[in-house]
C-alpha cells in the first residue's frame, strides 16, 4: 500500500474497502484511507459525495456493510458509537449538534468519559484548561447551548469532544457558515489541538483552511476516493482540483 508523504509515521487509523448503504443507496463504495499518528488529514469533495457518511461510519453512527476499520491496531468495524468513542475517537459533527437544553458547562461535562475528570493525568482536559483555550465559553458557561452564536457553538462542539481526551478527532465542516474572523479562530484552534498530539481527520469545504492545516489530502468523488496526496501534490495537480473540487 502506498503511504504518500507519511514519512514512516505509524498508521493510526486505517480504513479498507469500506462499504455503507442508506437503504438501497450505496453511499460509500470501497473507501480506503489512513491517518498517521499526529497527522491532519483532509477529506474534501463536493456536496453529497459521502464525506460525512465516511466519518459517521467510522464513528459507528452509520452501519457499514463490509470493509475494515482499524484504530490503534484494533478493529472497530461495526462497533456502536460509545465503544468507538471509548477507544479514543472524538466526533465534532456537521451542524455542531450542541445540546440546546443543556448549559454550556453541562455540554462540556457530558463529554467527560465516565463522568469523572482524571485529575491524576496531567494531560487530561479539565474545565479550567478548556476555558483557557476557549475564553468565550467561560463567559457563557451558564447559558443554554441554544443561545450561543454559530462560532461559539462550534467551539463548544470541539471542546465537548476534547473533554473525552480523544487521540483522534473527526471534524466535519467546522467553518461552515462562520464569519471570516471566526473561521480563522477555528483554524488556529485545530492547529493548536494537533500540536498537543491529537490526530485529526478533517472534512472541510474551505480549501484555504484545509490546505493550511492538512498534511495530506483525500479527494472524494461520488462514493469513492479519487485522489490521494500531500498538500503540495494537490497544489501541483489542477486536474484533480478541477475534477473533484471546483463547481
Amino acid at each position: 500500500m502506498p503511504t504518500w508523504g507519511m514519512g514512516g509515521c505509524s498508521v493510526f487509523l486505517e480504513i479498507n474497502d469500506l462499504n455503507t448503504y442508506y437503504g438501497p443507496s450505496h453511499v460509500l463504495q470501497g473507501i480506503s484511507l489512513t491517518v498517521a499518528k499526529g497527522e491532519i488529514v483532509a477529506l474534501l469533495g463536493r456536496n453529497g459525495m459521502g464525506k460525512s457518511t465516511t466519518l459517521k461510519t467510522i464513528m459507528g453512527l452509520a452501519k457499514p456493510k463490509s470493509g475494515q476499520v482499524v484504530f490503534q491496531g484494533n478493529s472497530i468495524f461495526g462497533n456502536p458509537p460509545h465503544k468507538v468513542s471509548m477507544a479514543g475517537i472524538g466526533y465534532v459533527p456537521e451542524e455542531r449538534r450542541i445540546f440546546p437544553n443543556l448549559s454550556v458547562e453541562d455540554n462540556l461535562l457530558i463529554g467527560v468519559k465516565g463522568g469523572v475528570i482524571d485529575q491524576s493525568n496531567p494531560d487530561a482536559w479539565t474545565l479550567e484548561k478548556m476555558y483557557e483555550v476557549f475564553p468565550s465559553l467561560k463567559k457563557r458557561r451558564t447559558n443554554k447551548g441554544a443561545n450561543l452564536s454559530g462560532g461559539e457553538q462550534q467551539m463548544l462542539a470541539i471542546g465537548r469532544a476534547l473533554m473525552g481526551n480523544p487521540s483522534l478527532l473527526l471534524v466535519d465542516e467546522p467553518t461552515e457558515g462562520l464569519a471570516p474572523i471566526i473561521v480563522e479562530a477555528v483554524r488556529d484552534i485545530l492547529a493548536e489541538i494537533n500540536k498537543m498530539g491529537v490526530s485529526i481527520l478533517l472534512v472541510e469545504h474551505n480549501l484555504n483552511v484545509a490546505m493550511s492545516l492538512a498534511h495530506r489530502v483525500y479527494l472524494m468523488g461520488k462514493a469513492h476516493i479519487g485522489f490521494v496526496g500531500t498538500v503540495k501534490e494537490l497544489d501541483n495537480n489542477p486536474d484533480a482540483r478541477a475534477q473533484y473540487l471546483e463547481v
Binding site: 464513528m59 459507528g60 453512527l61 456502536p80 458509537p81 460509545h82 468507538v84 468513542s85 471509548m86 466526533y91 459533527p93 449538534r97 445540546f99 440546546p100 437544553n101 443543556l102 453541562d106 461535562l109 457530558i110 463529554g111 468519559k113 465516565g114 463522568g115 465537548r160 469532544a161 473525552g164
Partner: protein
C-alpha cells in the same frame, strides 16, 4: 366555607388525585418516546399489571405497604426484561416505528390476556390500609385521607424524578438524549443501558400509579383503558418528550375530567379529545414540544 365552595374544593382534590396518577403514567411514556422515539402502547398495561401484582401481594401478605414496594419493583423488572430482550431486538431489525408499535401492541395484548387467565375477568377489591381510611377535617372541610396520600406520594416521586433529571449526570444524559441520542452515544455513553434504565423507571412509576389506583378503582381487566388514553393525550398535548408538559397537562386533564363530569356529564367522555384537537390545531408540537421530527 359555603357548601358550594366545599363542593368545588372536593372536586378539585378529586381531579388533582387523578391528575397526579396520570402524571406518574404519562411521564414514563413521554420520556421513553423522547429518548428512543418509541410510542410504548403497552405502557398503561404495566399500570394494570402492577395493580394485579398489588392485589396478589395483599392477598398473600395482608399488607398494602409491602404491595406498594413489591408490585412496582416487579413491574419495573418486567419492563426491563421487555426492553432488554424484546424491544432492543426488534429495534435492531430496523423496521422503524412499525416494529415498535407492533411489539408493544402485542405486549399489551399478552398482558391483558394473561391477567384474565391468571386472575379471572371479575373485579378484585383491594382495601385501603386502615391508617389511610376515613376523612380528615382541615379548615372545616373533610378530605379523604387516601386521596391526600396519593397526592403526597406522587409529589415525592415527582421530586425524586426532578432530582435525578436536573441534579445528576444520569439526568443530564437523559435530557441531552431527548434532543439528540446519537450525539450522546458518540460521546462514549452506552445509550442502550441508559434506555433500559429509563424504561425500567418509566414502568416502575406506572407501577406505583397502578398500586395507588387499585383501592380506588378496584382491579379488573379494563383498568388501564381510560388512563392509557389520557396518558397518550398528555404526551401529545404536553409535547413528546417534555416532562414539564407531562406535569402541567396531567394536572389540567385531571381537573378537566373532574369538573367535566360534575358540570357537563354527557360531554365528559369526549372533553379530553376536544381539548387535544383544539391544542394541536394551534400548537402541532404540543405545548412544550422540543422535537421537530
Amino acid at each position: 366555607m359555603s357548601p358550594v365552595t366545599a363542593m368545588y374544593v372536593a372536586q378539585a382534590i378529586h381531579g388533582l388525585t387523578y391528575g397526579m396518577l396520570l402524571f406518574l403514567v404519562a411521564s414514563g411514556l413521554t420520556l421513553i418516546f423522547g429518548m428512543m422515539g418509541i410510542l410504548n402502547l403497552a405502557h398503561a398495561s404495566f399500570f394494570m399489571l402492577s395493580a394485579y401484582f398489588c392485589y396478589q401481594v395483599v392477598a398473600w401478605t395482608d399488607s398494602f405497604w409491602i404491595a406498594l414496594i413489591l408490585a412496582p419493583i416487579g413491574t419495573g423488572l418486567v419492563g426491563i426484561i421487555v426492553e432488554r430482550f424484546l424491544l432492543r431486538k426488534v429495534q435492531k431489525l430496523g423496521l422503524g416505528h412499525i416494529g415498535d408499535l407492533l411489539l408493544t401492541l402485542g405486549i399489551a395484548l399478552v398482558i391483558s390476556e394473561a391477567v384474565k387467565t391468571i386472575w379471572g375477568t371479575e373485579s378484585h377489591q383491594v382495601l385501603i390500609p386502615p391508617s389511610l381510611q376515613g376523612l380528615v377535617t382541615v379548615a372545616g372541610l373533610e378530605y379523604p385521607i387516601y386521596r391526600l396520600f396519593i397526592i403526597g406520594l406522587s409529589l415525592v416521586i415527582l421530586g425524586a424524578l426532578a432530582f435525578i433529571l436536573f441534579k445528576t449526570r444520569l439526568g443530564m444524559i437523559i435530557r441531552a438524549a431527548v434532543s439528540d441520542r446519537d450525539m450522546v452515544s458518540a460521546l462514549g455513553i452506552n445509550m442502550p443501558r441508559v434506555f433500559m434504565f429509563v424504561f425500567g423507571v418509566g414502568t416502575l412509576m406506572a407501577g406505583v400509579a397502578g398500586v395507588a389506583a387499585a383501592p380506588m378503582l378496584t382491579v379488573f381487566p379494563g383498568l388501564a383503558d381510560q388512563i392509557g388514553l389520557d396518558a397518550f393525550v398528555v404526551v401529545v398535548v404536553g409535547g413528546f418528550g417534555s416532562l414539564l408538559g407531562a406535569v402541567v397537562v396531567s394536572l389540567f386533564l385531571g381537573e378537566l375530567n373532574s369538573f367535566g363530569i360534575q358540570f357537563i356529564p354527557r360531554l365528559a367522555p369526549v372533553l379530553v379529545f376536544l381539548f387535544m384537537a383544539l391544542v394541536l390545531s394551534f400548537k402541532p408540537m404540543g405545548f412544550f414540544g422540543e422535537r421537530d421530527e
